[in-house]
Subunit: 273 residues, 2 copies
Amino acid sequence: MMNKQHTYLINGGTDDAVSALDRGLSYGDGVFRTFQVVDCVPVNWPIQYQKLVADCGAIGIVCPSAELLMADFQVLFTIDETAVAKVIITRGIGERGYAPPAVTTPTRIVLKSPMPVYAETNFSEGVSLYVCKTPVAHQPMLAGIKHLNRLENVLARAESLDPVYVDGLMLDVDGHVIECTSANFFIRIGKRLITPDVTQAGVAGVTRQRIVDLAHYLQLTAEIGHIRLSDVLSADEVIICNSLYGAWQVRRIGDTHWPAGSLAHDLRELLKV
Amino acid sequence: MMNKQHTYLINGGTDDAVSALDRGLSYGDGVFRTFQVVDCVPVNWPIQYQKLVADCGAIGIVCPSAELLMADFQVLFTIDETAVAKVIITRGIGERGYAPPAVTTPTRIVLKSPMPVYAETNFSEGVSLYVCKTPVAHQPMLAGIKHLNRLENVLARAESLDPVYVDGLMLDVDGHVIECTSANFFIRIGKRLITPDVTQAGVAGVTRQRIVDLAHYLQLTAEIGHIRLSDVLSADEVIICNSLYGAWQVRRIGDTHWPAGSLAHDLRELLKV
């Protein structure tokens, strides 16, 4: 198994498979996270684990212990290696029917995959986005959570597979910009660094939160607010971020172009802290 | 395996398991249906299969052939038996990332479970519902489809496990009544039989469609419309329906009670056609 490009552990074992009765499959009844692992240790692990626990708790799943997950990382990853971990926690196996069983044992899946090979120009020059037609639905009970109900993201990402675009920009049903399919989103207007409110729709990513926390080191005031596409197109700089590539500058959306800026580079440096 | 209460086939085989890389698990990237199987034959199979194909097509999955699925039913079910089939079709196995792979082989899962044991009074006297706090989100790209993104239903059903209630009534974010967590919904006002519009949210169930098609035999005019909770509470009769129990009269929601009516019985008879 360790020779395959993707390797994984299910509940700590290499022999188990996912049950056809797992509620993660039946209903998307679970959560996940994706992050880098360097020398067997997840980058920003305390924050990633805290968010995993919070997301599990929001839908009533008791997250497996950090020790169990760390033991999985020790088995799957090796020293002197930088790779990607995806952790999926589902509510576990259940009979037919939406009601969660009285007693469930969460299913814990840790998948390892190689770091994506990003074009160097994404970092040095910036990237282009398309604007998705698929909206992000408003669901205050699930907003912010990185849960397994991601069909919106699948449909939105499938709208353009043209490699000129690294991702698609998703708006909510009211026309507010929320996020990209695999990234959070910031705009800079002067000294203000604004990221969309995700209390009605979207994912509250760890890198987004870290940028909000750290922005003051760049003499920027981080804000969470409602952003329309017109606000984006008139912003001084536009940034997308996630746990794998850090931050990239958006240089083009549709017919709107931005000159090269320094913010994405500065944020990537800051995220190394 | 055939001795267990739940039995299943994955891609026609009993040995396979679900891959940890299946997009049904990763993203809820798939659809499902639940229906009765009598003497190895699914009830209303042409309509159920047509809806399965339509739902697959709506998210870009090519549905396995009816012959393959029928062969699965022949293996899993036996003559002189009435049981429940759940069919899950996912987009198949994929690498990490939302974009659908260029080539995928859908995963086909058929699960068999016993018919639920419903209280006889649900049929003879009717049922009670609670009103869910969890709203149904508006997502026009996914509305109507019975897809695997069902966390809303899980949270809504978990709001009350008091056995006095058979299900919970779900409203959309605008306050329109949409459905129950496991049933579609009708109200009768005089000779009008109205079911909620599901073009923005909800599932367009097969039994709902059959009732719309057949209502004229009961001298009722079927309509699809926007229904508020106040419309429900002042209706002459309230009905919930699904493929397993047919139709039940709702006798109580909150403090509102309805006298016994004959519509649910008449609909169940009609659905036998």
